[in-house]
C-alpha cells in the first residue's frame, strides 16, 4: 500500500522553502513490522513562509502503527531553538476519501511558528508498526501480509527536495527485492558490522507542478518498491485465506440472491441483476467493523444487512451473491488511480470481482467504481493489473484495455429552418464511460437534465433557445446505454442578411464540450496527459429544407489513428447540408509531446468553427 503520510501543510505552489535533506532509515523484522526514522532538514527561503510551512503533520492508525516526534528544532544563525514536542497535538484525522471512510486514522500535528528567511528547520519522527494500513507484526498490531515487509518510496513530490536518501536494513532471514520505476534512483548495497543496507539516493528530485489531467504522482515520480513477498502467487493465496471465510454465502445472502434472480434462467442476466443490486443498493461507507479495516472484507451478510461498505465489502458481497447462484466468482485486488507495477508487493488499494468463465479466463466486475453505469467493468480500469484470490494462488493478470470504440458519444442533430428559427432535434447516445456520467445527471431529476441540455444548447447556439421537450431512457434501466432526445427551437441562430441566410454549424462546439480536457491543454504541457479512458465523439449535423448558396465541400483531418483523430466534413446537395465531426482519442495516456501536438492540431482544427454556410433565404 501507500507509504506513510507525512505532510507539511501546503497552500500555494510557489515555494518559500526547500527540503535540503529528506532521509529515512528503516529496519524491518521477521513479522513484517518495521522501525522507521524520518529526518528532514528544511531551509526557509522567505520571511512569509507561514503560508506553506505552518505545521508538521504525521498520520497513523492506532491498530496498525504508532509515531513519535523525536525532536524538532530551528537553527537560526548560531542558535538552536528546540520546539517543545509535548505540544504536539494528537487528534482524529478527517474521514478519508471525501468523508466516507472512518477507520480511526489520527494525526499528530506539531505547529511550527515564526520561521524567517535563512532559518533551518530540522525534525525527526520515529514510527513503529506498518505503513499505511499495514504491515505490522507485534502482538499489538494486525498485519495484512503477516511476516512480510513492503514499502513504496517516491523520490520527488510537490516540494523541492534537494537530496533524498532511503536506507533499508536487510533482514538476512527474509531479504528484500526491489524495483525502481519511472526514472532513475541511485542504488548501492553496503555491508557493515554484519548487516546489509540497501541505500537508495536521489538528488535534485522532481518538483511536481499542478497540471490538469496529469497521471498520479505514483506514475510520474521515480518510485522504489521494496518487498520480501516471494511471489504474486503467495499474495493471491494469502488474500484468499483472508477473504474466503467472509465470501461464503449464508442463508441470508442465498435468499437475497435467489430472490434477485427469481425467474431468470439466463446466466448473464443473473450476473447483471446481482451486479446492479450491489452497485446501486450498497452505499459506499467505511466503518470499523473488524480488527483490521482496510484489507479484510466484511462478511457478505453484514454488508447486506447494513447496506453499506467500501470496495472490499461490495466486492465480497457480489462474490457471495454470485456463488449462491453457482458462479465461480472470486475476490480480486487491484489499484485505482495508479499503475500496479509487476513486482509482487502490496500496491493494491481496491477490490473487485473476477468470474472464471473458462480455463484461465476471467471477466471482471467492479460494483464500486462502476456504480451507476451500465458496464460491469468501468472503462477507466482497463489495462490495470489485477490479482485474483485463489486457494492455489494466481499470477498478476491484466484487465483488458478499453478501446475508444466502446466509449462513444454518438450525436445526431437535425436542424430544420423556419424563417430565422431552427427546429432542432438532438439525439445523443452515451456508451461506455459516458453512460455512467449522464445517468448520474439524469438521476438528479428530469428537470435537472432539462436544465443541463438547455444550458448546453444555449452555449452552442446563438440567440434564444426554447426547449420543447426532452425524452430520455430510464436511468435505472440497464438494458441499453443511456440516451436522450431533445426537441428545441433556436431563434436567431440563423442570421438573415437581405436575401441571404447565414448558418453556422454547431457540431464543433458541441464536440469540444464532450472532449472538455482539450480546454486544459497548452503548448507548454509538461506531464503526460491521462484520460479516464479512450473515447470517441461522433456528431452528425444536418440542416435540411434549405437552398444552399455557397456551402463549400470541406474535409479537414488532423492526427493519426494510433493516437487521435480530429475530423470534420461538410457536403451539400440541393436542399441539405450534412456536417460530420469525429473525435477519436485512441488511448488513455498520451506523452507530453503527444499532448502538445494534440493541442496544436486542435487549435488549427478549430478553423472549422468559423464555417458559415450561406443559404438562399428568399425575400424577408
Amino acid at each position: 500500500m501507500f507509504g506513510f503520510f507525512i505532510t507539511l501543510s501546503l497552500l500555494v505552489s510557489s515555494s518559500s522553502y526547500i527540503v535540503e535533506v529528506d532521509s529515512i532509515f528503516e529496519r524491518y523484522y521477521e513479522s513484517g513490522v518495521s522501525d522507521r526514522i524520518e529526518y528532514r532538514r528544511i531551509r526557509v527561503l522567505r520571511d512569509d513562509s507561514e503560508d506553506q510551512l505552518r505545521s508538521i503533520i504525521a498520520s497513523y492508525t492506532p491498530y496498525y502503527n504508532e509515531i513519535q516526534f523525536d525532536f524538532a528544532r530551528i537553527v537560526r544563525g548560531g542558535d538552536t531553538i528546540y520546539l517543545d514536542t509535548s505540544l504536539v497535538v494528537d487528534i482524529p484525522a478527517p474521514p478519508e476519501l471525501g468523508g466516507t471512510i472512518y477507520w480511526g486514522t489520527r494525526n499528530k500535528i506539531m505547529e511550527v511558528k515564526g520561521l524567517s528567511n535563512g532559518d533551518v528547520l530540522e525534525y525527526r519522527i520515529r514510527r513503529y508498526g506498518g505503513n499505511w494500513l499495514g504491515p505490522t507484526g507485534s502482538e499489538n498490531y494486525k498485519t495484512p501480509y503477516p511476516g512480510f515487509f513492503n514499502q513504496i518510496e517516491l523520490f520527488g513530490g510537490y516540494e523541492e527536495i534537494k537530496k533524498k536518501v532511503y536506507v533499508l536494513q536487510d533482514l538476512p532471514e527474509k531479504p528484500v527485492r526491489f524495483g525502481i520505476f519511472n526514472g532513475r534512483v541511485k542504488y548501492r548495497k553496503v555491508k557493515s558490522r554484519g548487516n546489509v543496507f540497501h541505500i537508495f539516493e536521489s538528488r535534485d528530485n522532481i518538483k511536481l507542478d499542478f497540471e490538469p489531467f496529469a497521471p498520479s504522482r505514483y506514475d510520474i515520480l521515480p518510485k522504489v518498491i521494496v518487498t520480501n513477498i516471494p511471489s504474486w502467487r503467495d499474495m493471491s493465496k494469502y488474500e484468499y485465506e483472508r477473504s474466503e471465510e467472509n465470501l461464503i454465502p449464508d442463508d441470508f445472502v442465498t435468499r437475497t440472491s435467489d430472490s434477485l434472480c427469481s425467474g431468470v434462467s439466463d446466466n448473464s442476466e443473473k450476473i447483471r441483476r446481482l451486479f446492479y443490486f450491489v452497485s446501486d443498493q450498497i452505499r459506499y461507507l467505511g466503518l470499523i467493523e473488524s480488527e483490521m479495516e482496510g484489507y479484510e472484507p466484511h462478511k457478505a451478510s453484514l454488508t447486506l444487512a447494513k447496506k453499506s461498505g467500501v470496495c472490499k465489502d461490495k466486492a465480497a458481497l457480489l462474490v457471495s451473491l454470485l456463488r449462491a447462484q453457482g458462479f465461480k466468482a472470486y475476490y480480486a485486488t487491484t489499484a485505482v488511480g495508479m499503475r500496479v507495477e509487476d513486482i509482487p508487493s502490496d500496491q493494491t488499494n481496491h477490490a473487485i470481482v473476477a468470474i472464471e468463465v473458462g480455463p484461465d479466463t476471467y471477466v471482471y466486475l467492479d460494483p464500486t467504481v462502476g456504480s451507476g453505469g451500465r458496464d460491469l467493468m468501468p472503462a477507466s480500469e482497463g489495462g490495470q493489473g489485477v490479482l485474483v484470490s485463489r486457494k492455489e494462488g494466481d499470477i498478476l493478470r491484466k484487465i483488458s484495455s478499453s478501446v475508444a470504440e466502446s466509449n462513444r458519444v454518438v450525436v445526431s442533430i437535425l436542424n430544420t429552418p423556419r424563417a430565422e428559427t431552427l427546429d432542432v432535434i438532438l439525439k445523443i447516445r452515451f456508451e461506455g464511460g459516458f453512460d455512467q456520467q449522464f445517468r448520474r445527471i439524469a438521476r438528479s431529476g428530469h428537470k435537472n437534465l432539462e436544465r443541463y441540455f438547455r444550458w448546453a444548447l444555449s452555449e452552442i447556439y446563438k440567440g434564444e433557445i426554447i426547449l420543447d421537450s426532452l425524452e430520455c431512457s430510464d436511468s435505472y434501466d440497464y438494458s441499453d446505454y443511456f440516451s436522450v432526445t431533445v426537441y428545441a427551437k433556436a431563434i436567431n441562430h440563423i442570421q438573415r442578411i437581405g436575401e441571404l441566410l447565414l448558418y453556422r454549424p454547431v457540431l464543433a462546439f458541441l464536440g469540444d464540450r464532450f472532449a472538455g480536457f482539450l480546454d486544459f491543454l497548452n503548448e507548454k504541457r509538461k506531464y503526460d496527459l491521462s484520460l479516464r479512458y479512450p473515447f470517441k465523439v461522433e456528431i452528425n449535423e444536418v440542416i435540411s429544407g434549405i437552398r444552399p448558396n455557397s456551402c463549400p465541400r470541406m474535409k479537414v483531418q488532423k492526427g493519426n489513428k494510433d493516437l487521435y483523430l480530429l475530423s470534420f466534413s461538410a457536403v451539400s446537395d440541393s436542399n441539405t447540408i450534412e456536417f460530420k465531426l469525429h473525435y477519436s482519442f485512441n488511448k488513455s495516456r498520451f506523452s507530453a509531446v503527444e499532448a502538445r501536438k494534440l493541442y496544436s492540431d486542435h487549435q488549427a482544427f478549430s478553423y472549422v468553427k468559423n464555417y458559415i454556410a450561406i443559404l438562399n433565404g428568399g425575400k424577408e
Binding site: 505552518r54 487528534i91 500535528i109 443498493q281 466503518l287 435537472n448 436544465r451 434564444e464
Partner: protein
C-alpha cells in the same frame, strides 16, 4: 470577447431532489451559563442517490467549549423496521481546516452514518449540543434546503430579562410564522414553516445567490443595538492594547495582511462559533481571523475596520447581529481596501454593492458611538480596446483588469513567476480570441503587476492564421455577442460576479482592407430593464467599423423574474441577433 456573465458551470455538481425533510425541529435554550441546542430531524430518502447525500449527518462543534451528545439515531425502513445506528457509525473527527491551521484543533465534527438505508427509508436523529459560558446568542436559521421541507420549527427559550431581537425575511413567499409565548421564567419564540419547496437551482457556481436572498430565514441576536455590537467589536480591539504605529502604505498593509494565518472564510463567521477571544488574541500564533485583522489595524495608522454586511442588509433594516456580517475589509478615509486576497491588488471589488459598518475613531480611540454605514461603490475601469487590422489578420489590444482572476479564473500572487502568469493569461486570451479566427501567436505585456493600487493593464497583439470565414466573394466576420442568459437554467436567479460589474465596456475598431467593401453590418441594439442595461453601437466610417459595447448592472442580484425581463428586452431590442458582418471583395 465580451463575457457578460462569467458563469463557471460545474456540471457534475448536482444534488438530488429525491428526498424530503419530514420534520426538523431545532431548539435553543439558555440554562444558566449554558446555551443548549437540540435538534430532531427526520429525512425520508426516495432513491439511491439521495442516500449518498443524506446518509451521513455532520454537526460541527468546538471541543474547547462545547459538548455534543447523540440522543438517538436510527433508520426506519420502508417496511417499518427500526435499525439503530451502531456506535461504530457515530464518529468524531477533526475538521479539514485543522491540517492547515493546527491551532484550531478543537474544531471537531460529529458524523452520524445511517445504516441499512433503502429507498423509502426514513432517517431520524436527535442531538444535543451544549455551549458553556456562552457570551451571546446570535445566528441565522434558514428554512429552505436542496430538498423539500414538510415541517420546520426553530424555537428559542430565553430568560424573560434577556435582550433579544429577531427578524424574519422572505417569509411571505414561504409562509413562515412566529409565535411568542411565556412559560415560567422564559419567553419562548417559535418560528414555524412548511411545506417549503426545495431550492430549485441545484447546480452551484460562482454566481449562485447567497442564501439570504433565496431562502426564508430568521436572523436573531442578543445584542440590543448597533452601538452595543460596535462596542463589543471595539472592546476586543482595545484589549489588544496597541496603538497605531506605522503610517499607512499599501505595500506595508499588503505585507502585513499576507502574514495572516487563520482562514478568513471560517473565522470570519462571527456567529458565536469562534468568538473573539482576548486571551487568544494576545498570542500571534493562535489568533483567529478577526483578531488578526485587529492586529493589523493596531499596527497601521489611518485605517478603519469596515465590517461588510451581507448583501441587501443595512443597519436600518436588520437587527444588530454579528451574523449580519459576512466579511471585514478596511477603510482608509477615502477608499475601501481588501488586502486579504492572494492578489497584490488591494482595492476592494469583492463586496461591491454591500453596506459596511465602519468603526469610527474619535478622541484618540475607536469609539462605540462613532460607527457609520457606507455602501461599497462600483469601480469603473477604462474601456477595453481592440484594434483589428483585417488585412494583416492581427488584433492589437489593451485591456484593463481589476484582477487577473477575472480573466484566468485563478488568483495571482506577487510571488508567482512572470512566465507562469503570462502563460495563463495568454491561454485565456487565446480562448477568447479564438472566437475571431484561428490564433497563430499572442504577444503580451503586463503592466502594474506589483502596483498595489492600480489595475492591471494588458497590452498585446494577436496574430491569426485565419480570421473569420472567407467564402467566394464574401468575408464574414463575427462580432462579439452577449452571452445568452437562460432564465430557465437559473430559476433562483444569479448573483453577479463583481468582475462582471467592473468590466463592462469594450471598443473595437476594424480597419477594412484594401480590395474589400462593406456589404453588411448589424444594426445597433440596446436593452434596458430596471436592474440591467446593455447594448452595442456599430458605426461604419468608410475605412473603419467601430463597435462599442457596454453592459451595466444596477443590482448584483437578478432573480429569475429579472432574468426573464432581461430576456424579453433582449428579444425586443435585437440583442439576441447574430452579429455577423460581411465584407465583399471588390470586382476586378
Amino acid at each position: 470577447m465580451m463575457t457578460i456573465l462569467s458563469l463557471i458551470i460545474l456540471a457534475q455538481l448536482y444534488s438530488p431532489t429525491s428526498a424530503v425533510v419530514k420534520s426538523d425541529v431545532i431548539t435553543l435554550k439558555v440554562l444558566g451559563e449554558d446555551l443548549v441546542m437540540s435538534q430532531e430531524r427526520k429525512v425520508q430518502v426516495f432513491s439511491e442517490d439521495a442516500r449518498e447525500d443524506f446518509g451521513t449527518v455532520i454537526i460541527p462543534f468546538d471541543e474547547e467549549k462545547e459538548t455534543i451528545e447523540v440522543i438517538y439515531a436510527r433508520t426506519i425502513s420502508a417496511s417499518g423496521d427500526t435499525i439503530n445506528v451502531t456506535p461504530n457509525a457515530i464518529n468524531i473527527v477533526t475538521s479539514d481546516v485543522v491540517s492547515s491551521f493546527p491551532f484550531m484543533h478543537s474544531r471537531k465534527e460529529l458524523h452520524i452514518s445511517f445504516l441499512s438505508i433503502t429507498p423509502g427509508a426514513t432517517l431520524e436523529f436527535a442531538v444535543q449540543k451544549t455551549t458553556r459560558n456562552f457570551e451571546y446568542i446570535d445566528g441565522i436559521e434558514y428554512f429552505r434546503e436542496s430538498v423539500p421541507i414538510e415541517h420546520k420549527e426553530f424555537v428559542i427559550h430565553l430568560p424573560k430579562t434577556s435582550d433579544f431581537k429577531f427578524q424574519i425575511d422572505n417569509k411571505d413567499k414561504f409562509n413562515i410564522k412566529v409565535e411568542v409565548s411565556n412559560s415560567d421564567n422564559y419567553r419562548i419564540y417559535r418560528f414555524t414553516g412548511g411545506p417549503i419547496p426545495p431550492i430549485a437551482q441545484v447546480r452551484r457556481w460562482n454566481t449562485f445567490p447567497p442564501f439570504t436572498l433565496i431562502s426564508p430565514y430568521v436572523i436573531y441576536t442578543s445584542f440590543s443595538t448597533w452601538d452595543s455590537l460596535a462596542k463589543y467589536l471595539i472592546k476586543h480591539y482595545l484589549t489588544t492594547g496597541r496603538m497605531p504605529e506605522e503610517k499607512l502604505s499599501y505595500k506595508s498593509l499588503k505585507e502585513l495582511c499576507d502574514r495572516i494565518k487563520s482562514p478568513q472564510y471560517l473565522s470570519l463567521s462571527f456567529q458565536g462559533y469562534v468568538p473573539i477571544d482576548t486571551v487568544r488574541a494576545l498570542n500571534e500564533f493562535s489568533m483567529t481571523f478577526p483578531e488578526e485583522v485587529f492586529r493589523v489595524i493596531s499596527t497601521i495608522a489611518g485605517l478603519f475596520p469596515a465590517f461588510v454586511l451581507r448583501y441587501g442588509f443595512d443597519t436600518l433594516n436588520t437587527p444588530p447581529s454579528l451574523s449580519s456580517i459576512c466579511g471585514v475589509i478596511f477603510f482608509d478615509g477615502k477608499e475601501f481596501l481588501d488586502p486579504f486576497k492572494s492578489s497584490p491588488k488591494i482595492k476592494e471589488i469583492r463586496y461591491i454593492g454591500h453596506k459596511v459598518l465602519v468603526l469610527g475613531f474619535s478622541e484618540g480611540s475607536f469609539s462605540p458611538s462613532s460607527w457609520f454605514v457606507a455602501e461599497i461603490p462600483e469601480r469603473s475601469l477604462p474601456t477595453d480596446s481592440l484594434y483589428v487590422d483585417l488585412g494583416k489578420q492581427k488584433i492589437r489590444f489593451i485591456r484593463i483588469l481589476s484582477d487577473i482572476e477575472a480573466l484566468t479564473g485563478r488568483g495571482v500572487s506577487e510571488d508567482d513567476e512572470e512566465e507562469e502568469i503570462t502563460r495563463d493569461i495568454k491561454e485565456a486570451c487565446r480562448k477568447e480570441f479564438s472566437n475571431y479566427g484561428v490564433v497563430k501567436r499572442i504577444s503580451l505585456k503586463i503592466k502594474n503587476r506589483k502596483e498595489n493600487d492600480k489595475p492591471y493593464i494588458l497590452e498585446g497583439t494577436v496574430k491569426f492564421s485565419s480570421f473569420g470565414w472567407k467564402e467566394g466573394k464574401y468575408w464574414i466576420i463575427s462580432l462579439p455577442d452577449f452571452k445568452n442568459i437562460e432564465p430557465e437554467v437559473y430559476p433562483e436567479g444569479i448573483f453577479v460576479d463583481p468582475t462582471g460589474i467592473s468590466r463592462n465596456n469594450l471598443r473595437i475598431i476594424y480597419s477594412i482592407p484594401r480590395g474589400f467593401t462593406l456589404e453588411y453590418i448589424p444594426l445597433s441594439a440596446f436593452a434596458e430593464t430596471d436592474k440591467y442595461s446593455a447594448g452595442y453601437e456599430i458605426i461604419y466610417g468608410g475605412k473603419t467599423i467601430t463597435a462599442r459595447y457596454f453592459e451595466r448592472f444596477s443590482s448584483r442580484f437578478l432573480s429569475a423574474d429579472d432574468l426573464q425581463r432581461i430576456r424579453n428586452e433582449w428579444e425586443k431590442s435585437g440583442l439576441f441577433r447574430n452579429s455577423l458582418t460581411i465584407l465583399l471583395k471588390a470586382k476586378g
